[in-house]
Symmetry: D2
Subunit: 384 residues, 4 copies
């Protein structure tokens, strides 16, 4: 009897963070993978992660449409409630031996509730980190609902233990996203033309002599300022006049603010040095990064993959607040001049090391092995 492991992927970036673990589970002789794709991962306007997943050869056990339109805090809550209802059905039908919930996006708590309320052991990937908005609350609530904790760094492991989880349920596996980065570190050449392959909109920038990459998401609890915040970055990039690839934000309350900021700026300023993409295959994205001069924005990619790959990163604002950083990162506020300065400093920095903070490239296999060997239970009590 194989152990049935049900993983729920609710967004494009979550897929990148779990992909090698999914592969390792699929290939493990004692495990059976039940893959559920849900939420914005199914939607065209958030990059159709589902297409990449199917192209990668995964069989999808269930698709769960649960995103309520509105992109405001109320619809975010209602999307989560709907997710609980739908995923309760799904788990009841699939009868998995364990369910995996990934990290800290708002809708991940739907997975946690639907599993734990049905007495299915819950595995939480990438708990124990620290940030600065609703993700912070969701991540730690996921930890308290989960029975097994597969975290991405030693610091995260310490934090989960302090929160009162049983030591024999907490493992530092590193982050599977680093497994992908590991392959790219070995094969770094930019073997495609980004604009030819992905289209996108905006100017046909001359990127071959070096370019920046920007990825800036709205910060939920600062909903009304999302537009103002992103304009600072847009102005900074526009004034620097360095060729830049810019990625649109995920679905989130406030993405309207950010997206609207970008649209407004494009129309009024018609920036000559920026080309916009909706999304990219994960490997292509990493290749784009490793060959870039600098990543700018507030994506966790700057903290994780870029630390491993040694890509200079300018991290803006509070979103990655207190996540463990490597030497590649410089933090700045939402301030045009500070952003410009930090970019210029980073692209000429010489002391950037490649570091092993979030894993050494073997996380996927470690996760599968722990799932196979650990006895899973849904009974737990705080240790103190």
């Amino acid at each position: 009897m194989l152990k049935k492991i049900c993983a729920v992927v609710t967004a494009r970036p979550s897929y990148s963070r779990i992909k090698t673990a999914l592969r390792a589970i699929q290939n493990h002789s004692e495990l059976e993978l039940q893959l559920v794709v849900a939420g914005s991962a199914l939607l065209g306007r958030y990059g159709n992660a589902v297409d990449f997943i199917e192209q990668d050869g995964f069989v999808i056990a269930e698709k769960v449409y649960m995103v309520l339109e509105g992109e405001n805090p109320t619809s975010m809550a209602k999307t989560t409630g709907l997710g609980v209802m739908e995923l309760a059905n799904v788990f009841h039908k699939l009868q998995p031996d364990a369910v995996i919930t990934i990290a800290d996006r708002f809708e991940t708590i739907a997975t946690s509730i639907a599993a734990s309320y049905q007495n299915i052991p819950l595995v939480h990937i990438q708990g124990g980190e620290v940030t600065g908005n609703i993700d912070e609350k969701v991540r730690h609530a996921n930890t308290k609902l989960a029975d097994l904790h597969l975290v991405a760094s030693e610091e995260a492991k310490e934090r989960v233990l302090k929160m009162g989880e049983e030591p024999n349920t907490v493992f530092n596996t590193g982050c599977p996203s680093i497994d992908l980065a590991h392959y790219i570190k070995e094969n770094p050449e930019l073997n495609f033309d980004p604009i030819k392959k992905y289209g996108g909109v905006g100017e046909e920038i001359l990127w071959k002599d070096g370019y920046l990459v920007v990825m800036q998401h709205p910060v939920t609890t600062e909903y009304h300022s999302a537009k103002k915040d992103v304009l600072k970055t847009l102005e900074a990039i526009n004034e620097l006049q360095i060729p830049t690839f810019w990625f649109w934000p995920n679905v989130d309350a406030g993405s309207d603010g950010t997206s609207s900021g970008i649209r407004t700026f494009r129309e009024l300023q018609k920036p000559k040095n920026i080309h916009f993409f909706k999304n990219m295959e994960p490997n292509d994205f990493l290749r784009l990064l490793v060959n870039s001069k600098c990543l700018i924005g507030n994506s966790s990619v700057g903290i994780r993959e870029c630390s491993y790959l040694g890509v200079p990163t300018v991290n803006i604002g509070t979103r990655q607040n207190r996540r463990q950083r490597g030497s590649n990162v410089v933090d700045v506020a939402y301030d045009k001049e500070a952003i410009k300065e930090a970019i210029l400093e980073r692209i000429s920095a010489t002391n950037i090391k490649k570091e092993v903070i979030y894993g050494d490239g073997t996380s996927g296999n470690k996760i599968a092995e722990i799932l196979a060997k650990t006895s899973l239970s849904f009974h737990k009590t705080i240790v103190y």
Copy 2:
């Protein structure tokens, strides 16, 4: 401008645990109470808490029907999901300055999500305790979603702090249920005839020379054994032949098991010494308890109110696992002989003290005062 405090009551026992705080909020010159009654508190077959609430003179701002029939773990999860969707609407409309979620019933996390996702400061009442089933996970997840923690004992306060909450957001107010008990301690006479006033079913037992009270709820994660467990208690009580008032369980996954056990036993054994009630006004219930020989079962009332009132308590099974106990409590397993022995020991015990573990009778006022004086925020970060 009054601070609008929205409290969500989802079940009869939760109302008892918050009633004096609701009154104190209502009467406080700086606060406005927005009372939401939801879930099983609206349903006749769980005791129509809503009727007591209205009789007590509270104005109900919104009623939220959210209980999905089925009484299994799947419907428990779906009820919670539906609760998130409905309460998101309610909070969006009421625009409270803070939302109160009470303790650890499964559906309380719906309140927590609907508030925190909409950036409304969340107040959690009675976090930091320890039990042994899904309540345990829900309680601590509520803590991680909440911004202000009003706990019921020093032990609970220590635990919430250890979990990483900011010290200036954690207050030991005691439990408002003790405020009710305080009044009864001063006025203990049994001033009504239980059977005349509440009807109920079963024999017209002769209770005036002493009686037992039983209240045994299903333990969610032991769903399939709920029936077997309650039969042990029924057999023990039946063999003792002491007049007994027995209260039906709340709505919970498994209540079917417990209720079915009771029904089966009644039909087959026709116990001569047991009278069954669905529910009772809180004050009447406390008067019944304070005049009883012993409380038997797994209700938290045995741990809290009975400790304050000095009522002997036989606590069965794991449901109150590791909650701080007074000298009134003896713990036993699901074992007929052990239950019988423990009851006989308790009703003749002489060393039972009245203790102040869960408050001194002023919790309601303390809670209102803290809500009025504390600056409420929805930004938080774990302290370590």
Copy 3:
């Protein structure tokens, strides 16, 4: 390739109305049955139809929990909305070639919407009849959403055609419930002891020398008078002092009113001649009827099966308003004296014929054959 026919059974009485058709579909060489059991058919307190279905050897493709507690018009609407959401998922997964919705219970429109909105041909069983409450609206709305109409009488066929449906999509198959009645007509002996086999509550009445059967459902649009209405019948029966088997009502807004009326009456009047059942296997129920003196209440069984079997029926109130009747039926208002009189008249009537209004006992096979031979489409336009 077999044609996949998905039937949705949402309540115990609906199962009786479709059972022989389900069997015939299952056995048909060109059809595959996909049976979905939903709503109150899954719930213990409405008679656990699901158990009978499984005992009859049907494989259940999906179970859909969708009943929201409350038993008021709001929860009835919300149950229906939830049903649409859940059944949309179910049909999306099962990919049937046609979906069957049965008759006119409030939640049947959920089946109709979930199928027709997904461009799945919709088959409506038992349209074209006339009654007097929300069922009336639901039934005709189902007709307008449906692509194929399998009705139970010539009168019903005429009515569906008048409503503008294409003549080649309307067939009078009779009602499958008559197929069951046909078997009982041939084998009428009461081969079981009702109280021994089904338990129930109330007096151990002496029924062997003749008895009445009562089945009275709440009428939705007269929600507040459900309790008052049923009390008239209770008083009439109590005064007649003829041994009576009384069946509890279905889930419906107002069932609380009816049930509460019954409970109140039992407690206060302790009727000596009434025994109460929750439900009975369909064949046993028909045997009970065929051997009874008279059926009293407002069940459609009195109009249909009892017409075929020649069982005298006193039909109370508006619920069966304008349904085609046989000579077995007498109609009365909610009036104690009128009910008593009508019962006494019926049990001594000598002119009651067995009539073939709702089919001749071969409906199940007719339905399967039409489904196999008809080309199913989801395109339709009103004919005028």
Copy 4:
């Protein structure tokens, strides 16, 4: 006591169809308007009807977010189910004396169910028409759930009566959209620059010497061909090289197909003569139409307003199937050459009359007056 009339607007075009009736209800001395804005009417990417509604000075009683992302038939069904649940709450709270549901969009049945199941008299605007897809089913199902029918033409009135509705509940009021058109007929000058006022995307076409308007919606039951269909129109327009204003489609299953067709065509063909708009204030839109050479597509505006205004219309495909037409309309299939020919014929036609088929410009007042004077009931029975 004013009669409380609750109208539910779920989409931008529905608002145009009801606006003057809303105003007349608001101004009527015996009526009180309760306006609910729901569904895509709240969403930016479908034109933010809510903003126009508020600019027009209406007070919105409730906003209901209910659109589930996905834009496929399954999410259309689930949106409807969610709408039932949410609107049930809304009506329960508002306690209207009647609810208005408008026309035949898929989600309008949610309004009908939520009202009729709660015994609130339901008023259906614009029943009795005939088209060719899911709208056809929804419209007639709305009729069967409704208690009062306010239809837009004599033909529609005849049809509703044939369907079995009581004659004293069916009134031909004309369509309120014609009231708006009436004002524009009197004041036809194009008093704004469309591109300056509304932006939009595409070429800055030279429209002052005459232009076409295109509005083509996906036809739900032909989901997969939506893209192919719209390409025919795009090619025809592109080849004609007449300046054209093109409006994006509404939210509907398939809008993705249509939108995707438009996007693809723009990228590949870069049409020089087309400018694209998302939406326009209703009066501005009518002004644009009355000054245009021809309307092309499948919008009901071509059948209704354009008949009244005498605007030549090329109606493509089955969407307006069998709706009563004036002399302004020519019908064509999805065929490039036929579309081109029809446009050329229409823009030189000389025999186009202004006709009064769908009202004479006083519908809003008629509707309000009928609502005030008619006794509203929720009891109905089919007449035959």
